[in-house]
């Protein structure tokens, strides 16, 4: 089906089901209960899950397949956001042209940067991409203010031309939409104590993420993907066979830049503003964290990693000491205080500490990320099962 193997179809179907049912799955706790703050099923966060999922999928095509570690990938995300917002300002509030322009611009940008950076490999490549991204950030922040809005960021204004839509009526800045469907529109479904929110923006982004995911599977399974793996495993030998590695690496770089631009365009479509801080090197570091945490070179890993980090950023960071005290209220007083003081540094404002520790543990013990962890656990269970099966077969003759 879709030109995919059986396993890949299953994976794609599982991911489709998960993303489509996300508003239910991420809202397991009833409204108003003590656990309700762990609900991640609100549109803003779900959109971030899928958008950063796209970003990480794209990064993984470069890093996971070719092994080139780019430390400046956020630049493409930023360029994509700016391009999309400009499209909203000049042409129309429809998201399609905005996203197309975002992808095209960041693709071009990636072509230029990739052409220069890919002359070097290893850590030099990382430093070059970092340097380009920091330059873009610094320029967007200072000299390019007429294009980028500088410190305040690029925002929509009432007097933007918007050739296709005409001037805004009623003094309200219009919201991005898709042929009449507004991105920030949502409906709520109330079932007993549970409230589920279905947002158009989320489903639109989720649909695009599924497309992006499908594309990534195709790339992974294609001869082109094989070439990229060859670059990672042995560049020299690839050259000896008469193949020039650089065009392939450049293609991978551009594709992954376009993915980042797509993510940036979507981000601007959900919330039409763009700022230079999206290009800062910490943002590039974040996508590296996501990919490694989930599992480099695996299909589903980057999406998992993106979801996990965004979940922690939004949910774990909200836990404060009062909440901790209510959780551990069942313990005797002294013990309660002790437990709370032990846990407190790792949640709330300190969630970065948890993130850093988790990241280190993953790099040290699970170089394949969470996916490898999952596989290990699955293997453990399978072995147990086969052991059980063996035991049962052994025990039957005895009777």
């Amino acid at each position: 089906m879709f030109g995919l193997g059986k396993k890949d179809v299953t994976l794609l179907l599982i991911v489709t089901a998960l993303t489509m049912l996300a508003p239910f799955l991420l809202n397991p706790f009833p409204e108003g209960s003590a656990m309700a703050q762990f609900n991640a099923g609100y549109p803003d966060l779900m959109q971030r899950f899928v958008i950063f999922g796209i970003f990480a999928i794209g990064f993984n095509i470069l890093f996971g397949l070719t092994g080139y570690l780019s430390f400046g990938h956020a630049a493409f995300l930023g360029v994509g956001s700016y391009a999309a917002v400009w499209m909203f300002k000049l042409l129309s509030m429809n998201v399609l042209p905005a996203i197309l322009l975002a992808v095209a611009t960041s693709g071009l940008f990636a072509l230029v940067i990739g052409f220069v950076s890919l002359r070097r490999s290893g850590i030099y490549f990382s430093i070059l991409t970092l340097a380009f991204a920091q330059m873009s950030y610094a320029l967007a922040y200072s000299v390019l203010t007429p294009i980028t809005g500088g410190e305040t960021g690029l925002q929509l204004a009432l007097d933007d031309p918007r050739i296709l839509d005409g001037a805004a009526e009623g003094g309200n800045i219009p919201t991005p939409g898709l042929f009449g469907l507004e991105m920030n529109d949502s409906t709520q479904l109330v079932m007993g104590n549970w409230v589920f929110t279905f947002s158009i923006g989320y489903y639109f982004s989720a649909f695009i993420m599924l497309l992006a995911f499908y594309m990534a599977i195709r790339i992974f399974r294609s001869p082109f993907g094989m070439m990229l793996r060859a670059i990672k495993s042995n560049n020299t030998r690839m050259t000896y066979t008469g193949l020039n590695a650089r065009p392939y690496a450049l293609a991978a770089f551009v594709i992954s830049g376009m993915y980042a631009g797509l993510a940036g365009g979507l981000m601007a479509s959900m919330d039409p503003l763009a700022g230079a801080e999206r290009m800062f090197w910490t943002a590039s570091g974040e996508v590296v964290l996501m990919t490694i945490l989930g599992g480099v070179g695996t299909l589903i890993g980057p999406v998992l990693g993106a979801g996990m980090i965004k979940y922690m950023e939004n949910i774990v960071s909200k836990i404060n000491s009062d909440i901790l005290h209510t959780w551990f209220a069942f313990l005797p007083d002294g013990l309660e205080d002790l437990v709370v003081t032990m846990i407190y540094p790792f949640v709330g404002k300190g969630w970065h500490l948890t993130l850093g520790l988790m990241f280190m543990l993953v790099v040290i013990f699970l170089p394949g990320g969470l996916v490898q962890g999952g596989q290990k656990i699955a293997r453990l269970f399978r072995r147990k099962k086969t052991d059980d099966a063996k035991k049962s077969t052994q025990s039957t003759p005895a009777e």
Partner: protein, 343 residues
């Protein structure tokens, strides 16, 4: 002309910091072959050693002075630090005043311990893993160290002043025949530059003129042969890691009066220091020092008004621009050795 001299001077202090951090990075890279992304965190820990020492020195007790009243009419409470109480206001006061330079003594053992612990505890296990893994694990470590410091010291910069003697500015212009107040330069920055030059000199002398340094240099050139000669090179490399950490830490200690330390200062410097190392040439110690000063001075030249008018925004990107040009024209960096990190 005076503007040019001023810019060179301005570039020196930042250049010194870059050079010191890059020197440590190169030492680690040259000896152990590890790309240490946590090196900026070591710089930051050094800075916070100075903060910690000044907090320890300022531990005080309160006494009530019945002769004076505060603005509410209550008897005034006077804070006296234990140092002044024990050693008298003169000696105690000057110890308080010289808190930052004293922190050097305080920081050296701490930094060496942190460095050795880091190498033995974590980085040792990463020698055989790819460079990408080393970058990633030290990046994670940097986040962890940063967050620990943030937990204890908060997110805001902590101003810690230099000793009174160095607080003013030095009229450099009068020395070389300019009129007064044309080229003025804060004393502490001069101190910082002199200090950096001293440390750099000490590290080079240590490597060049001691037996230990000779063995380390031999190990950098050919680790296996040195091991075959029956020398425990790993132990020496661990000590070098400690020394590199101490160099970064001291750079941090002395930088405190120039820029109040906050928890992410390390990361800010790290990115630039990596650029410096790459420009200087991976694995080349003189290259790292030279590139550090070069980029520091270039950066301050680029922020001159005339040049900004000519090329707007150049001050923001000059370092990265230079790095890109050098990497593309001289792939090994300015003084890179053949065969280092060439894959």
């Amino acid at each position: 002309m005076d503007a040019i001299i001023l810019q060179i001077l301005n570039g020196l202090d930042k250049g010194s910091a870059y050079a010191l951090i890059a020197l440590g990075l190169t030492l680690i890279f040259g000896t152990l072959g590890v790309v240490n992304f946590a090196h900026g965190a070591l710089f930051m820990i050094g800075a916070f050693c100075a903060v910690t020492l000044s907090r320890i020195l300022n531990v005080s007790f309160e006494t009530v002075d019945p002769t004076k009243t505060d603005f509410l009419g209550n008897p005034a409470k006077i804070k006296t630090t234990y140092i002044e109480h024990w050693l008298g206001p003169d000696l105690g006061g000057s110890i308080l005043d010289w808190g930052v330079p004293l922190a050097i003594l305080f920081a050296i053992p701490i930094m060496i311990a942190v460095g050795v612990l880091m190498e033995r505890g974590l980085i040792k296990h990463f020698y055989k893993r790819p460079h990408a893994d080393q970058i990633l694990v030290t990046f994670g470590l940097a986040i962890v160290l940063q967050e620990i410091i943030k937990y204890f010291y908060g997110a805001n910069p902590i101003p810690t002043p230099a000793p009174d003697v160095f607080r003013g500015s030095f009229d450099f212009g009068t020395l070389i025949g300019y009129e007064a107040n044309q080229i003025i330069y804060p004393y502490w920055r001069l101190v910082y530059f002199a200090f950096a030059a001293m440390i750099i000199g000490a590290v080079f002398a240590f490597l060049q003129f001691t037996t230990f340094g000779m063995v380390v240099r031999a190990g950098m050139a050919d680790r296996e042969t040195v091991q075959l000669l029956g020398i425990n090179i790993d132990k020496r490399f661990t000590i070098m890691f400690g020394i590199a950490a101490a160099v970064a830490g001291l750079a941090g200690v002395m930088y405190v009066p120039i820029n109040p330390p906050n928890y992410h200062m390390g990361m800010d410097f790290l990115v630039l220091s990596f650029v410096v190392v790459v420009v200087g040439g991976m694995g080349s110690l003189p290259g790292a020092v030279f590139a550090g000063f070069l980029l520091g001075i270039l950066e301050s030249f680029a922020s001159m008004g005339v040049i900004i008018d000519l090329l707007p925004g150049i001050n923001q990107i000059i370092i990265y621009l230079v790095a890109i040009i050098i990497l593309l024209t001289r792939p090994r960096g300015l003084m890179g050795r053949k065969g280092v990190m060439e894959d």
